[in-house]
Symmetry: C2
Subunit: 318 residues, 2 copies
């Protein structure tokens, strides 16, 4: 039995790991910065895989998690935020040619959903929603034990649904999306805006605000910080209620750094979900929980994909 | 080969039809009012089926489309709007006992989606969204040639997603849902409200406004009526853009009376969809069209379900 290589392409770092064929404990994990003036990201990615390539056993498959719009059927990165030149990049073809090994590529949030379903907080659920809330907001949905991909694999952009008409501008260029209202940077922007409009807060004058700093201030009783988390929780809860009406899942799993903000986020989130849901039928037996795989969700999801690519003739995701 | 019986339970009428095993042309269709002081709706439904029961051939299966929250796995009507006493009604069990024939039951909008996919405007599409806009707004989604049902069959309540925060009260009791903003009654309410606030319109003083009357006035150039259709189209288009991000389908099929309003609704709808979509990847090859089955969608969907019930051991919907 060969080993599997899982790769997680992030905005700041590239990670690659070797996993035994029957384990979630990697034999080796390597990480390097995504960007460096001396070489292209693609060259860096190929070198990273080469660096960890085992000499003692065969590699059965490589799974790659990447941010942005991915065509998982074709293994093409359509557009990747923050990595210049990665448009319509046939990464699967490139890596298969270079390493002579089957490769599977998927959107990182989709693969995190797959990872949580197979190995994490969603085990045993047949219908689940995964939502990751950090710098951006991404999602993945399991329906009847299958990952929802859609026609070209562009489905479950759960951060890009309108929750506030004419709301703040989203990174995607549209207005009022969940990501523009409740991601880490969106929470920080709102706090900065309130301070600039005269709100009092211990955060006044603090530069480079993050949701982590805001969560800390909230925990210390800062009213504006508490309001900021409640506001984000309220919008996330509203979006989740909509997703319950759309998918009728048994589990909603929340990942990403913002979710680490604790009960000052989670309690308003849960209350808003209940307030906006049509009927208790949608949430009375629902598992609403935080992700189990943490920062490793993308990597473990890429591993779950590698297992599929290595053992199935077609790219059947789940 | 036996025949199939399809039943469509509507708010105003019950319809039942007999279909040959290989045709969409019914041998017989009967309809009676849903409500009558002299007998219960369940009694009326059973008599209706008895009335059309054929004497010359066997019945292979009965398919039933019903409005409201249905558990299609168990064949239980959880709650049906406007029909008193139909709560947790085990209709499949009741009908199977009475008629000694396999019965399948589904939500009417879900089954209309199935009907449009199998026999109507969605033929050949593997990923489609069906949205019916009339007195209420319902939906159905086909993913990878399967109807999306969710854990208990309560999925794809596409009319019950928030499109306007703190918007008008929805029939479900929540605020700002698409149904509360863009259904026929919602369009009429908005026009009435504008008139009561001093807007001028040929519709002033008209009682019992409907979306059909408003569409007629719009066609004759009435500014308020034109605004009303554009407003509804705008919200429907916004919701569709969200659904494109969620499902990445190749077809969006629009049914229901409100969609008959013509280009004064459809053009703003399409423009809003394009305006709110993240990228042309979501709509450049999209088929956005009106339903092919018209008023018969529920009945034909019930027929599609009856075919499944009659030929498969389990209730695999699509």
């Amino acid at each position: 039995m060969g080993v599997f290589i899982a790769v997680d392409i992030g905005g700041t770092q590239l990670r690659a790991a070797i996993y035994p064929h029957d384990s979630l404990i990697p034999r080796l994990v390597e990480r390097i910065p995504t960007k460096d003036p001396s070489s292209s990201t693609l060259d860096r990615l190929e070198s990273l895989i080469e660096t960890i390539w085992p000499t003692d056993v065969a590699v059965s498959a490589i799974g790659v998690a990447a941010p942005g719009a991915i065509d998982p059927y074709q293994g093409v990165l359509l557009s990747v935020a923050n990595i210049q030149g990665w448009e319509n990049l046939p990464l699967r073809q490139i890596l298969e040619k270079r390493f002579q090994t089957p490769v599977g590529i998927g959107n990182d949030a989709n693969l995190a959903a797959l990872g949580e379903w197979q190995y994490g907080a969603g085990q045993g659920h047949h219908h689940l929603i995964y939502l990751t809330i950090s710098t951006g907001i991404g999602g993945g949905v399991i329906i009847n034990d299958h990952l929802l991909l859609g026609h070209r694999g562009l489905a479950t952009e759960l951060g890009h649904v309108v929750v506030m008409q004419d709301g703040p501008l989203c990174t995607c260029g549209k207005r009022g999306h969940l990501e523009a209202v409740a991601s880490g940077p969106a929470i920080a922007s709102w706090v900065e805006q309130q301070i600039s409009q005269g709100a009092t807060s211990n955060l006044s004058g603090q530069r480079h605000l993050t949701s982590r700093i805001i969560a800390k201030a909230a925990g210390e009783g800062d009213t504006l910080a508490i309001q900021a988390l409640a506001r984000a929780g309220n919008y996330i809860g509203q979006a989740i209620a909509n997703f319950l009406h759309i998918f009728n899942p048994t589990a909603v799993i929340l990942g990403g750094g913002v979710i680490q903000s604790g009960p000052l986020l989670m309690e308003p989130l849960r209350a808003s979900m209940v307030e906006h849901a049509m009927s208790p039928d949608y949430y009375s037996d629902l598992l609403l929980t935080t992700a189990a795989l943490g920062d490793d969700a993308g990597l473990v999801g890429a591993l779950a994909l590698a297992h599929r690519v290595g053992t199935k003739p077609t790219l059947d995701f789940a």
